[in-house]
Amino acid sequence: MTDMLLTHYNYWVVMVLMMIGFYIVIAQGNLVKKLVGLNIFQTSVFILYISAGKVSGGSAPILDDAISVYSNPLPHVLILTAIVVGIATTALGLALIIRLREAYGSAEEKDIQEQNQC
């Protein structure tokens, strides 16, 4: 068990973060906060990818004669674009929240649902 703890701790950190993000998304009423939760979730996925790409003893993947072991560059590429896409989608979500707030006068999920039922 302690063996597992030492070699797999990165996944566990990711998991805890992911679950916190997940919890915020499903349990909180405020839409802005939901988005923050979504961001946490997103970052946890980033961390999962990046930590999967790490090679112990490796160095950053920029070629240099003095270095022979590099970390895996592929996850870096994927995550790099994912971060920028993430901010774009977050902005889209925020814009939606602003419109909802203008339409319903509130950014709480509950209020909006109540108004819809009326």
Partner: protein, 93 residues
């Protein structure tokens, strides 16, 4: 010595983080965030030297810039919010 500095920086970051948790006012939190940013700049610079690849200082530079931008943005918007609150109260009167 570099290692000692790294550990110290991490420790200070933890301290700043706890201030950000307790901080009674918003300004405490901004202060903590700002401090955290400076520490991050230093940490990245020191880590670059520790790993023997000091050409990655660009990142530290980005941090120095972004940190400033972030703090300014927060302060401006807080001012805006305060203004709005005050206006609302005046309307009530």
């Amino acid at each position: 010595m570099l290692t000692v500095t790294t550990v110290t920086l991490l420790l200070v970051m933890a301290l700043a983080l706890s201030r950000a948790f307790v901080g009674p006012t918003v300004f405490d939190r901004i202060l903590a965030a700002n401090m955290f940013g400076t520490k991050t700049v230093l940490l990245i610079a020191v880590i670059g030297f520790l790993f023997g690849r000091p050409e990655f200082l660009d990142i530290a530079m980005v941090y120095a810039l972004i940190n400033f931008i972030g703090v300014i943005g927060m302060l401006r918007l807080i001012e805006y919010l305060e203004d709005e609150n005050r206006n609302a109260h005046e309307d009530d009167v």
